[in-house]
């Protein structure tokens, strides 16, 4: 079979795939386990959504790890905590705009992999250029001419991006082709059973990615009635016809941030970045306990709570405290009050 990189910029193939997708309103709900098994294939390119550690589909990524998918190709715009799979054969290489956790520092497994040559960096990008590559796909253009990356070493020997000349002015431009990743997984606040997904906060590149990607899985904090979506469509960023599977997954962005609902799990992120993933051996131990050793996301959260000596409900409430008291504003008419009570119940049901 062709390598994922051979499909990545093939606009005809992307169109053929999408011509075959159903436009009908059909119930696409399924357990996360089945969605990952069915729609994430070994060797697929998998693009980051949200801002990796803010509204990233972390619950789905842990499940990808649990199912031991092989040789995925990462598209990191940016890439966050899911950069550890290559040490378990899960990721062959990546197209990199950014991998790290900002001021928390570098992600040790990524650094080790690239320095040792076991994780390939297929291409180097800036955030703006990679965003434009995905946007070009969504806008239906073959490529865009940008003023980013000019003169830098990123442009040197780049396998995809080319130096061009503006036909009107003659000035140098950076030509960026449209990118069509194999799979994208989005985590949203609300989705209906057909796949319409609504968020609050940053959409980042998601409206571009959803049109560009061949296969789309949506995980959501809560499944809502389709009328609820249709009555308030202004924050809908995922249209149903792009979507292959819908999974209800409260806390699906944990240990990342879910705007207005829960904040970064800072203690856990500090711990994994500074201690748990420092060496190959400690990373292996962490994954065996926390990912392979658990059945689902909720058992993982339970382990994290135990590590802090806390009851799992108090633990998730503490993550919500900050998001709700300080960081939400303009959340509108939904997502407050009863929403949170409902979530505690759902976590309790799943965790205990």
């Amino acid at each position: 079979m062709a390598h994922a990189n051979d499909r990545l910029f093939d606009h005809q193939l992307a169109r053929e795939t999408k011509l075959k997708k159903t436009r009908a309103l059909v119930d696409k709900r399924m357990p996360l386990k089945d969605a990952i098994a069915q729609y994430v294939d070994d060797g697929d390119s998998l693009v980051e959504t949200g801002f990796a550690y803010a509204r990233g589909p972390m619950g789905a990524y842990w499940e990808i790890g649990r199912q031991k998918k092989k040789d995925l190709v990462g598209i990191f715009t940016p890439g966050g905590l899911n950069n550890l799979w290559h040490e378990f054969g899960g990721v062959e290489g990546a197209h990199v705009a950014y991998v790290g956790v900002e001021m928390r520092g570098l992600i040790a497994p990524f650094r080790r992999g690239v320095e040792a040559g076991t994780l390939k960096v297929f291409s180097e990008w800036s955030h703006g250029a990679l965003a434009l590559s995905l946007r070009a796909a969504e806008q239906g253009v073959n490529y865009v001419a940008s003023k980013s990356m000019l003169g830098s070493d990123i442009m040197k020997d780049h396998p995809y991006v080319k130096l061009g000349e503006d036909p009107w002015t003659g000035e140098p431009v950076c030509l960026i082709p449209a990118m069509y990743p194999d799979v994208a997984i989005f985590h949203v606040h609300h989705a209906d059973m057909y796949g319409n997904g609504r968020i609050w906060g940053l959409s980042v590149n998601d409206t571009a990615i959803v049109a560009a990607a061949h296969k789309v899985i949506v995980t959501c904090e809560r499944i809502v009635d389709t009328l609820d979506i249709r009555a308030n469509a202004s924050n809908v960023i995922i249209p149903w016809y792009c979507v292959d599977a819908v999974c209800e997954l409260p806390y699906g962005a944990w240990p990342g941030d879910m705007p207005g609902m829960y904040y970064f799990d800072r203690p856990l992120q500090e711990r994994v970045v500074r201690v748990d993933w420092k060496t190959r051996e400690s990373t292996k131990e962490w994954v065996e306990t926390n990912v392979y050793g658990t059945k689902n996301l909720y058992e993982m959260i339970q382990l994290a709570a135990e590590e802090e000596g806390m009851n799992v409900l108090d633990y998730v409430k503490s993550l919500e405290q900050f998001a709700c008291s300080a960081a939400y504003f303009g959340l509108g008419v939904w997502g407050t009050g009863g929403e949170r009570d409902w979530k505690y119940e759902e976590v309790a049901k799943r965790a205990i």
Partner: protein, 256 residues
């Protein structure tokens, strides 16, 4: 000496960074200390400053220090949130005056490295990669770079140009087709640097209390030009430190 103001090197960096921001500047804020400097400016002398974050938020009124450029605090009370390609698009349109960056290395022409230390194909350290840094350096009008001042972090030539400064000297940015104004200031824990208009080379504008131009030269991997008006950096005031410690970063996430 009891009235002597005490401060740490990181606090000094944050204060100098904030002073470079003018009221009514629009500032594309990178992660780390730039977040602190921008928020300090917003809460002191630049209440009209407009912050832009690559997560998409523009003009928020954060109550506490964001942990990330996509932290919900970056869009607290923000009147608008754009997509990532749009914030860079607006920057290219001319809506970003200042780009505020950190990174591992900066060289004498202000080129910045956040990709690899050592040869690209066989790096001794693999860093994060560009993120939005290249776009900011390519598209913003003025670039401020913040970093630690060590000879290996201030080399004559960076190991990898992630974000373009003046490339290899006068005229190179124009020739490459870059539209932004390029590097404007470099803040380190030893001094404040600018760039010579003719040669595009880095020059020392002020040295921080406790050091002098000779010491700074020893920690610089190339010959640093010295501005004719070089002087000692003004110390942080008690008011600046109060706002920084008590309002901007009370939990000492960055400044300690």
């Amino acid at each position: 000496m009891s009235d002597e103001v005490q401060y740490t090197p990181r606090e000094l960096l944050a204060v100098i960074a904030s002073r470079l921001i003018r009221n009514e500047d629009s500032v594309f804020v990178g992660t780390g200390l730039p977040l602190v400097g921008a928020l300090l400016a917003h809460k002191t002398h630049a209440p009209q400053m407009m912050a832009i974050y690559e997560g998409g938020s523009i003009g928020p009124e954060p109550t506490a220090l964001p942990w990330s450029v996509a932290d919900p605090l970056t869009f607290y009370k923000a009147p608008i949130i754009l997509s990532m390609s749009s914030v860079f698009g607006h920057t290219r349109c001319g809506y970003a005056d200042v780009g505020f960056l950190g990174g591992a290395q900066v060289d004498m022409y202000g080129n910045m490295n956040a990709t690899t230390i050592g040869p690209y194909d066989k790096p001794t350290v693999r860093l994060t990669g560009s993120g939005g840094a290249n776009d900011m350096a390519s598209l913003c009008q003025r670039i401020i770079f913040l970093g630690l001042h060590l000879a290996e972090r201030f080399p004559e030539r960076v190991d990898y140009i992630t974000s373009p400064g003046f490339l290899d000297g006068p005229g190179a940015r124009e020739k490459a087709g870059l539209i932004g104004g390029g590097p404007w200031r470099v803040i380190s824990h030893l001094g404040l640097m600018g760039f010579d208009e003719e040669t595009c080379r880095m020059k020392l504008l002020s040295y921080h209390p406790g050091v002098n131009p000779e010491i700074i030269q020893q920690f610089t991997g190339f010959e640093l030009l010295i501005d004719k008006d070089v002087h000692e950096t003004e110390k942080p005031t008690a008011e600046e430190l109060h706002v920084l410690r008590d309002l901007v970063d009370p939990n000492q996430l960055f400044v300690f």
